[in-house]
Amino acid sequence: MRSDKLTVGERVAILTEVVRQTREIGRTSLMKMAYLLQTVKRVPLGYDFELYLYGPYSTQVLGDLSIAAFWGALREEYYTTRNGYGYKITLGCPAEDMPQGDQTRGSIPESYREAVRWLVEKFKNYTASEMEAVGTLVWIDREAMGNRDTLSMEKLLDIAEEIKPNFPRERFRQLAEKLIDEGVLSHVQPLHSV
């Protein structure tokens, strides 16, 4: 009996593809990219996401990241800042130098690569904070979908602000409007609708 979810090798390949296309990414952004790939682009990653103070979060993503580092596909470096810390993720050793050969290249369908390309194109210039905001907005939208509900823009922003009170409301609004225009948020009434 085999699950219809992706194998660990396929999931690692997808995460590696994100890093390959972005060249360098932080953990927060990679986490939110994984969330959007699964939730918006329907890539069957099979991660269980929960809502934390930093938006959608799954320990399974970190588990796969750890495996990717173990296989040499990705490299993760920890750094400290004046008031905190972060992680920088880059590609690991070249495929030909991997002990077991490239375990990730070519093992994902082109449609998933295309989903990653779409995601990277849309969000590659977003900061970690903005990726969290996007993830949070999508999460709220999907909750509304689960409740068969439609939120007004102001309600969406109220909930988002409760979770991320230090993120500017106006920036939340801009992101939400952009996501509505792109069809990413489907259960929010845009301001200009009648």
Partner: protein
């Protein structure tokens, strides 16, 4: 003055309750937990592992309260500054955390996690989880005892507050980042659930793998504000630097319990047999959805074992009754390479092609996250530096630890020799 009660616990000594909590425990939905085993049929491997979700839930409430009190004692100023708390707010949320911890498992199906494979699917195609049932039970069956109890006049707690902290939802009625913060006490790598079940499961199974320094760990918990990757400041729960070894001991305990108990080869195959037997025994081959919660509450271990005993749980039920489970014929290493994974899948196909139908391929893709020691950063608050560091930074064993994603191939004992021959031939051919 509120009257206090005490219950004896083999793990924590005395667990204290007030009258409100006692009345909640006396509800049929909670008493049902006496008939839900914590570890399914793990007693088929470790005969002492017969403990139930009932005493575990009491233990989680006890531990969660200790954690809450420790964090508030050490970090009240941070909580007030970052989350806008006053003393009344802290007192109220302490009660919410206690009740959420007490009720966090009321939605478990018979034999706990083994039955999660036969929970029905939601409209979006994903499967319901026990947390969904827990939230439904809290909102429907326990709403009255939560909201209308005389002691609640001092707190004004709604059933939705408790359900929301368990679900981790964002939406109103009381969207609150405070509850999202305290949710880490119930769902994280340092949560009260884990802290209790490691000690409890270890005790009842008769092993020492799950033992760690819980007192030291709780005493070193703290809350602090931090910026992550340049994001705005957030308040998180971590460990003070002098307690990092205690945190390491918890991670190692979980790793050993996972490999020796939770992921034991025989225990795993019984999870499969349980799911299939339950599927045979249920009218719709799945459990009722959370909206039919009263129907759901009729199902407990007694119902299932009765079905098994009376021969009404299909062929897998028969195997359970006779302890005639499928046998392991092949397994990858605990952290296999992609090549090993492909080989395991190929062997599975070969066994199937040989006409062996009674086969089970256990893959981690079908494994719920609770089984797996997934990565999550545990932050250590340093004494002489504002920047926290992850536990990995201090602990070499934790840094080197990988999630277990082992693949296993099982067949019915009647065809074991044939399957082992296939595996041998394939392995010899590879050489």
């Amino acid at each position: 003055m509120e009257r206090k009660y005490e219950i004896r616990c083999p793990i924590h000594g005395f667990i204290e309750l007030n009258e409100w909590e006692r009345d909640m425990i006396n509800q049929p939905a909670f008493q049902r937990l006496r008939r839900i085993r914590q570890l399914g049929l793990t007693d088929y491997v470790y005969p002492g592992a017969m403990h139930t979700r009932f005493e575990h839930s009491l233990g989680v409430m006890h531990v969660a309260t200790r954690m809450y009190d420790s964090i508030v004692a050490r970090s009240a100023e941070v909580l007030k500054a970052e989350l806008g708390y006053n003393d009344d707010g802290l007192r109220r949320d302490r009660m919410i955390v206690r009740l959420a911890a007490l009720l966090h498992d009321v939605g478990h199906a018979p034999l706990s996690h083994a039955a999660e494979e036969i929970m029905p699917t939601k409209p979006d195609g994903t499967r319901y989880k026990h947390e969904d049932y827990t939230a439904a039970i809290i909102r429907q069956e326990l709403r009255e005892v939560i909201e209308d109890h005389p002691i609640n006049a001092n707190y004004d707690i709604r059933a939705d507050d408790i359900a929301q902290i368990i679900e981790g939802r964002a939406a109103p009625p009381r969207a609150s980042r405070r509850l999202l913060f305290w949710r880490r006490i119930l769902a994280s790598q340092l949560d009260a659930d884990r802290m209790d079940y490691l000690l409890r499961d270890s005790y009842h199974a008769g092993v020492r793998y799950g033992v760690y320094d819980i007192d030291r760990l709780i005493n070193c918990l703290c809350a602090f504000a931090v910026e992550v990757e340049g994001d705005e400041r957030k308040v998180v729960i971590g460990i003070s630097e002098d307690g990092w070894h205690a945190a390491e001991s918890l991670i190692l305990a979980r790793y050993y319990m996972f490999t020796q108990i939770y992921y034991h080869k025989t225990r795993r195959i019984y999870d499969y047999h349980i799911a299939e037997a339950m599927r045979s025994a249920l009218p719709q081959q799945s459990l009722p959805p959370p909206r039919k919660i009263q129907q759901f509450l009729m199902y407990d271990d007694s119902w299932f074992l009765n079905k098994v005993n009376s021969g009404r749980a299909g062929p897998h039920g028969k195997r359970i009754k006779r302890r005639n489970h499928y046998r392991l014929v092949y397994a990858t290493s605990e952290t296999p390479t992609e090549e090993e994974i492909q080989r395991a899948m190929l062997l599975y196909e070969r066994v199937r092609q040989a006409g062996i139908d009674e086969v089970y391929f256990d893959s981690p893709e079908g494994t719920k996250s609770w089984y797996n020691p997934d990565r999550e950063e545990i932050l250590i608050c340093r004494q002489f530096d504002a920047s926290p560091v992850p536990l990995d930074y201090y602990s070499h064993p934790v840094r080197g630890m990988q999630g277990i994603h082992q693949y296993r191939l099982y067949v019915a004992p009647e065809v074991r020799n044939e399957a082992e021959q296939i595996v041998r031939e394939a392995t010899d051919a590879k050489r």
